[in-house]
Each structure stands twice: as C-alpha cells, then as structure tokens.
C-alpha cells in the first residue's frame, strides 16, 4: 500500500478502495451469470433509482460515522420531512414545501448535534431519542393517515429522467460529488477525519470540535430530508411510517463501503459502492425470484461477508 500513497488523485483513491471495489465487481459478475436481464440498461437504471433513497441517507451518515458517531434518527427524519412535503406541496408551493421539509431535517439534525456535542449525550442515545420523537411528530402531524400528493411537477422530481438517467439518481450522484469535494478539499472536511481519528488531538490542534459535530449531524439531517424529498416525490404520498428501519440500511451501506465505525477512516465513494453492493444484491435476488424469507438470510450473510472480505481496515481498532 505504501508505494502508492504518494499517488494522489484517482489512482490512489481506487487503490485505497480496492477491497470494496473488488467486492462490487465480484457481485456484478456473479449477478450477470445469474440473470441475463441483469446487465441491461433499463435494469441498471432501475438499480440506480432503487438505491437513491438509502444512498442519499448513507452519504449524510458517512459524515457522522467519520466522527465516530452514529445517527439512528435518519429514518424518522425522512418520515418527518415526507409528511411535511406532503402537507405543503399541494397547499402552498413546491419550493416552499421543499424548503420546509429540508429545514425540518436540518433542524432535527442540529438538535442531535447539540445534544451530542454540548450536552455530551452519546450519539447512539441522542439519536435513538430523536428516532422516537421525530416519528411521533410525523404521526401527530398526519393523525396517522397518509397524505396523498397530487402535484405533477413534484411527481416529476421522483419519477422523471434527464438524458435517460432517473432524477433521484442524479440527485444522489451530484450529492456524492459535493460530499466528496467537501470531505477532500475543505478544512471542514479534513477536520472531520481528524476529529474522528482522535477527538482530543483535534481539539488541541484548534479544530472547533463541538461546532463541527453539530454540523455533521445537521448535514445528516439535511440528507435525510433530501432522501425524504425523493421518497415523497417518487411515491406521491406522505406516510408517517416512511423510512422506518432505513437507518440500519444506511449504516450497513456506509460500513460495507469501508468506513470505520470507530471514525477517521472512510469515504463517500466507498459508501456509494457499499450502497450499490446492497442494492444489486436485492435486485439480483428479486430477478431470480428467491424466496423472500431466504432473501433475509442472504442480506444478513452479505453484510457480514462484505465487511469481512475487505475488513482489515476496520479491525485496526
């Protein structure tokens, strides 16, 4: 590994991610043997659209996990933003609805961050609390009944395509590159790695640890809101149970993508590949009509195996 480390740029990145890329390539090869439909453009576009919601959540989650934190509330934040979108799109205007929905995500995320950074509550607990709280809010707001969305323009966000690429996938990929740029090229991003690697050292080096922690949870909340936008526009409905359990899928994508739960190590590209791995697995099992109960076995086994295969980096602790 050493000989490459001078090699900045793409090659270095590829090399660092070799394990997870290998896993992806392996899966693609196996998948294309298992189904001749797998490697068709429509199916690959399908996969890309299918992974967009969890993929977006996982991007935000990557920031949090890089700081050695965790955000269990993303599924509930998604649900909250979904019902807000649904409640406002048809009543007011699409831009206002979007602003409110994303704003709610940032708000709950900020509360998480304040609790973690300033009240010293462990991230697992703080976000477990908001998981329950935000879900409760969605239920109260809707009275438990799903709110249909009729606006056609809004529907287009989730279901339209540009140049044959589904818009949700474009949102995911643009977000990916923005996140990668922030993490690689800004002092903030770099400090996130430092803070995750050794919080005390980062603090002594002058990193505004608390503020940055608030920021990462706010970012995670923002992306949960963005995922909610994709969700509600794709499905034209604001259901208060939206996103239940997605936090575990998002965390799995991040970790399968090679980011360490102990912080300081990983990348959003890895997370994207992790998302694809999980998405392709689900796709190929569906294409082959594997018994849904048996699919659960595969899913469980895949997460563990993927982390094991490329795992050296996480065993470091």
């Amino acid at each position: 590994m050493r000989s490459f480390s001078f090699n900045a740029g793409v090659l270095g990145e590829l090399h660092k991610r070799a394990g997870v890329i290998l896993a992806l390539v392996l899966l693609v090869v196996v998948a294309s043997f298992l189904s001749d439909r797998f490697l068709t453009v429509p199916n690959l576009m399908n996969v890309l659209r299918q992974v967009s919601i969890v993929g977006i959540l996982a991007l935000g989650m990557t920031f949090v996990i890089l700081t050695a934190g965790i955000d269990l509330s993303v599924g509930s934040i998604l649900g909250l933003s979904v019902v807000i979108f649904a409640g406002f799109v048809d009543q007011t205007s699409v831009p206002l609805a979007i602003a409110l929905g994303l704003g709610a995500g940032v708000l709950v995320g900020t509360v998480n961050g304040l609790g973690v950074a300033y009240a010293g509550i462990p991230p697992f607990i703080m976000t477990l609390g908001t998981l329950s709280f935000a879900r409760g809010l969605s239920f109260i707001y809707t009275g438990g009944t799903p709110v249909p969305i009729l606006d056609e323009g809004f529907f287009f966000i989730g279901n339209g395509s540009l140049l044959g690429v589904p818009i949700p996938s474009i949102i995911l990929i643009v977000s990916l590159f923005v996140c990668a740029a922030v993490l690689t090229f800004t002092p903030f991003g770099r400090s996130i790695y430092g803070l995750g690697s050794n919080e005390d050292a980062a603090r002594l080096s002058g990193v505004p640890v608390n503020r940055y922690k608030v920021a990462v949870y706010a970012i995670s909340g923002f992306f949960a809101g963005l995922a909610g936008l994709v969700y509600s526009s794709q499905l034209s409905i604001g259901t208060p149970i939206a996103g239940q359990g997605y936090e575990l899928d998002a965390i799995a994508a991040v970790v399968v993508g090679g980011t360490s739960l102990f912080g300081g190590k990983g990348s959003v590209f890895g997370t994207f590949i992790g998302t694809l791995i999980i998405g392709i697995l689900a796709n190929i099992l569906n294409l082959n009509g594997v018994d849904p109960f048996v699919q659960q076995l595969f899913k469980g086994a895949l997460i563990v195996t993927a982390v094991f295969i490329m795992g050296r980096s996480m065993r470091a602790r």
């Binding site: 189904s35 439909r37 068709t40 429509p42 199916n43 399908n46 659209r49 299918q50 919601i53 239920f139 809707t142 438990g144 009944t145 799903p146 249909p148 969305i149 529907f155 989730g158 279901n159 969700y231 794709q234 499905l235 034209s236 409905i237 259901t239 208060p240 149970i241 939206a242 239940q244 359990g245 689900a282 796709n283 569906n286 294409l287 009509g289 018994d291 849904p292 109960f293 048996v294 699919q295």
Partner: protein, 346 residues
Amino acid sequence: GQERLPVSGKTCEELTAFYETLPFTDRLPLDAGPVEIDGEVRDITIGFSQTAFNHPWRVSMLESLQAEACRHENVSLIVLDGNVDVAKQNNDIRDLIARGVDAVVMSPVESAALVPAARAVMAEGLPLIVLDRDVPTEKTLFIGQSNVTMGEQVARRMVEDLEGSGKIVVITGLQGSSPAVDRDRGMRNVLADYPEIEVLAVGDGQWIREPAVPIMEDFLTAYPEIDAVFSHAEESSWGAQLAISRAGRCEDGILHYTFDGSNAGFEAVANGTFQADGNYTPFIADVGLRAALYQLMGMEIPEAADYDLPGKTLVLPDSPVVTPENAAEWAGLGWGDFAPTPNPCR
C-alpha cells in the same frame, strides 16, 4: 410435485386439496391444466408483490395464489416481500418488470404510494391485478373488500350489543397502516351517532398479541368499568383476553369485537369468547391470478365493472361479520389452519 413452495412452505399436492375449500373458485372459472396463449403452451411467469409476509393473513392470501398456480403446470410465480415499505415495494415491482414477468399481481402496502409502480406496469402493457388495497390509477382489475365498511359492520354489532351506551377501549392495528386507519374510520363513523358510547383510551396493538397485553393490563388498572374491547386484530384480542384473565376480571363480562376472519377466530366467536369477527378473507388471490390469465389469454373478464376509480373492479359478495348466530355455518370457511388459543378465563 413434492417441491415446497416459497414462503408458505407447502407442496402443490397440499395446496390442490386446499383449493377445494376456497370461497371464490366459481368466479372467473378456469380449468386445471396448461394455459394456452394464442394456441401455444409456453412458460408464464406471474410476479406477486405482497405487502409483507409478517402476518398469517398475508401468507394465506399467497396460498390461495399458489393453489391456483399449482393447477397450471406452465404457470410459475415470483413472490416478493414488500416489508411494509412502500419504497421497497415500488422497487420490487420494477424488478419484476425488469425480470420480464407476464403479469403483475400486487397487494399494495399503501394505496396512493404505489401509483408510480402501477403506472410503470401498465406502461409495459402487462396485466396488473391489484388485491385488497386499491391504487387510484389505471389497472386491469381491482379485487378487494372495504375495511371501512367492515369496521362499520363490526362497530354496529357492538353498538347493538351495548344497546347504545357503554365504555370501550380500542386496540388498533399498527399505527399508520392503512387497514388500521380504515377500520378505525369505520368505527368512528358509527360511533358518531352514539354519543353515549365513550372511548376510554386507545392503544397501539401493532396487529399482534404481545403489545396488547400490557396495554390492556394498564387500561384495566386505570378503568374499573370497561364494557368492550374494540380491537383491529384477533391476535390483539387474544392479548387483551389474557390481560383480563390475569387481572381477575373474567367476571366483568367484557365483550370483544375484532377482525381478521380466521378459522380460529370463528371458533372463538362460536364458543363465546369474541362477540363479532370482521370476516376479512384473504382468499382473493386465486381470483386475481385467474383474472391475469384471462387477460393473457385474450379473454374478457366477465364480471369486471367500472367504479369510481380508474380501471375496473370485480365485486365479491360481502362476507357477513361472523357473530354467534352465523358462526356455525362459517366454521372452516375462514383462513388459517391453526387452533384457537384457549380462553384463559375458562
């Protein structure tokens, strides 16, 4: 064959025997044997996207589907589990399209949310049969019953038994899920006319037994007088009954009104544990599959009728709420082959 089918784990042999007991085999009749399309017999693959397999009612629906499929050796099924997640179900249906199925049968998690998926199926020119919960968009056929009217029927029976006044507690199905919302709405529609009936408290029974027990225990502690439990699921009613017996309140004569329509539930009505059981049959998927095959064979679906949503519907006779009066005639005609839980008060 002896091969065990996905999810239900039953063999075609078992399912063929079971087919004889299904209630609606006379609708859209179709002979056993290979299905011919344009005079040729080729493999036909039908995709089935189920809400989830987290409840035996949903498994029973699948069994009725599998039983029909077993009658035609060139018809095979791909069965997917929506996991009570509209986004996942949406993805599943697109995977079915990518897989190149000949028709899609789906039982949506949430009606409005499956519109894009339904449109995608129709855009491919595939027959789309929607079961149980409708989607407000174009489709080949919808088959289902209304949870709202069923909620009304059960509530009306309760009001009758209580003679228009009394104190009740409600244990809902999973909060936010559409049958829970609809059954509750049906009940509220009826109770609006009976101000003397007081809803003391509402708890979330999540369709299952375990959460209903502590909820009911606490309700029993809080309210010395409870006349009836209105529960959205038989399972939760069993939980409530357990709580009543543990609290030593068997003598209170608390009445149970519930839903699901399982054979065990009917037996419990017959022996007096439940006063009414909303007869919500899952055995509609065989009809759905036949409708899809009709469509593939280029046949008209005889009884399909227009209704207030896009597409057509097949109206099935309303199954009456099962009460002590008709419990005997319904014995064995419900779903599920498991025994009822013994009433702990006996």
